[in-house]
Symmetry: C2
Subunit: 262 residues, 2 copies
C-alpha cells in the first residue's frame, strides 16, 4: 500500500505569518503524497467584528448565519487558502486550493438538530477520493479550506478537524495513512506545563486510563475522540504535535509529538 | 480539432443574483467543454468601503495596495468564485474554482511600469494548458477568479478580460475556440440606444471603419482591441453579447450578439 500524509493545521499556526511560512517550507519538503487541511484562525472573527457582524451563539455554540457564512467563505476559501497555495507554489510544491464544492470533493448536509439550528454548518456525507487521488497522481497537492457544500447550491461551514479525520479515513481504504494533527502543544503531555513530559507513543487502549487520571482533560477530549475515531476506521497512525515539529517527526528525528496507534 | 467554449462574465451579471443564477443554468446546459472566467463586480468595492480601505488612484488608474489585494482575494477567489461553483454543482456541472496560483494554472508578474506603480497587479506570462486540459478531460469545468500569482509567493489582481482572451489564445493551439465575451449590451450596436441595431456578424477588417464612424466609441475600444488580439492569435470566433443570450446564440437561435471573425 502506498503511503500518504494528511496534515491538519489551525489556530496560532494560521494567525502567525512567520510560523505558517516556516511550516509551509517543511510541508513542501515532505516527499510522500500529501494533503493539507487548514482551519480559519482569528481572521474571520476579526473581519466579522470590523463589519459589525454579531457572532451569534446559542447555549455557548456558535451559529453560522448567512452573513457569517459569507465572511468565512471569504477568509477561509479566499484569503487564507490562496495565500497558502501561493506560498507552496513558491516552495515548488504544486498546490491546488479546494473547498468541498470544488469538483464536488466533499459533500455535506446542513446539520440537522431539532434542538438547535446551527445555521450553515455542514456534516460530511462523502469524500470524493477518486478526484483527489487523480490530482495526487499528477504530483499536485490538495489544500482544503473548511468549507463544503450540499450539492444544492449551499456552501457550509465545516469543522476542519472533522474534514481532516474523514479525509484520513476515506484514504485509508487505499493508502497507508499517517494523519498529522497539529495543535498548540508539543503532543499529549503528562504534565501540561512541561514539554519534556510528552508521551511519545500511545495505544488507543491506554487512553481510557489517561482520561480517568485527568491527564486528558476537557479541552483535549474532542481532539482525542477524533483521533480514536480515525484509528478505529482504518487510519494507520495519528501524530499529535506542533507545526514546528512535523517534518522532524516524520523523519524520525524528534523527541516531541505523540504517535497514536490502534 | 475539438471545440471549446470560453466565456467571460462580469459587471452586472455578477452583482445581480437572479441574472447570475439564470446564466449559470444556461452555462451548465452547454454540452461542449467549457471554461468560465469571472470578474469581480461591485462587491469588492463595497467591502473595501465598509472596511474603510481607501480606493487609491493615480492619474485615474486604480492601484492595488496590500489591503486591496486582500479584499479582492477574499471577494473574487472566496465569495464569488465559491458561490458560482456551488451553484454549478447544483446544476450538475462539475465545476472547479481556480485562481492562477492553483496548480500554477496562470503565471504572471507584477506589472512593471516605470512611470506608475499599480501595486499588486499582474500581467500574464503563461497559461498552464496541460493542467486545465487534464481537468477538462475528466468532464470538470474550470471557473477562474481574476487572481494570479508570480510563483514567488505573491498573489496578483489580474484583469479578467485579459485572462479570458489569453486563455482563449492558449487553447486555440489545440482546440477550435469560441470565446464568448459577455457585457451589458446586446452586442455591437449601430445605434447605442437600439438593441435591434446589433451587428450580427463582423470581420476584423471592417472594424477600423466603425471606429472612424464613431460607432465604436471610447468605452468599447479596450474590449474591441481585446477581441481583435484574440482573433489575430488563433481564436476561431468571438461572440460579444449579453449573458441572457449566451445559450441561444451558441444554439444559433438568437437575433442578438455580435460574432467577430478574422
Amino acid at each position: 500500500m502506498q503511503e500518504i500524509i494528511i496534515i491538519k493545521i489551525g489556530g496560532n499556526s494560521i494567525d502567525d505569518v512567520h510560523a505558517l511560512s516556516n511550516f509551509l517550507v517543511d510541508f513542501s519538503n515532505i516527499t510522500l503524497p500529501k494533503i493539507l487541511i487548514h482551519s480559519g484562525g482569528k481572521m474571520a472573527t476579526e473581519l466579522a467584528q470590523k463589519l459589525n457582524i454579531e457572532t451569534k451563539q446559542i447555549d455557548g455554540r456558535r451559529i453560522t448565519d448567512e452573513a457569517t457564512l459569507d465572511v468565512v467563505t471569504m477568509v477561509y476559501a479566499g484569503l487564507i487558502n490562496k495565500k497558502i497555495v501561493a506560498q507552496l507554489q513558491k516552495n515548488n510544491c504544486n498546490a491546488l486550493g479546494l473547498t468541498g464544492a470544488d469538483a464536488n470533493s466533499i459533500l455535506a448536509h446542513k446539520r440537522n438538530n431539532h434542538k438547535l439550528d446551527f445555521g450553515f454548518v455542514g456534516d460530511i456525507d462523502a469524500i470524493n477520493v477518486e478526484f483527489i487521488q487523480s490530482i495526487l497522481e499528477k504530483n499536485i497537492t490538495p489544500v482544503f479550506a473548511p468549507i463544503t457544500h450540499d450539492k444544492n447550491g449551499i456552501l457550509l461551514n465545516t469543522n476542519a478537524d472533522t474534514i481532516a479525520s474523514e479525509m484520513a479515513i476515506a484514504f485509508s481504504k487505499m493508502y497507508k495513512v499517517t494523519f498529522v494533527y497539529c495543535f498548540d502543544k508539543k503532543g499529549l503531555l503528562l504534565d501540561i506545563n512541561k514539554n519534556e513530559s510528552v508521551i511519545q507513543h500511545i495505544k488507543t487502549s491506554e487512553i481510557e486510563q489517561l482520561k480517568q487520571k485527568q491527564i486528558i482533560t476537557q479541552g483535549m477530549l474532542p481532539k482525542i475522540d477524533n483521533i480514536i475515531h480515525a484509528l478505529k476506521n482504518g487510519v494507520e497512525k495519528v501524530i499529535l504535535c506542533n507545526v514546528q515539529d512535523v517534518l522532524s517527526i516524520l523523519n524520525g528525528n524528534s523527541i516531541f509529538g505523540t504517535t497514536f496507534t490502534i
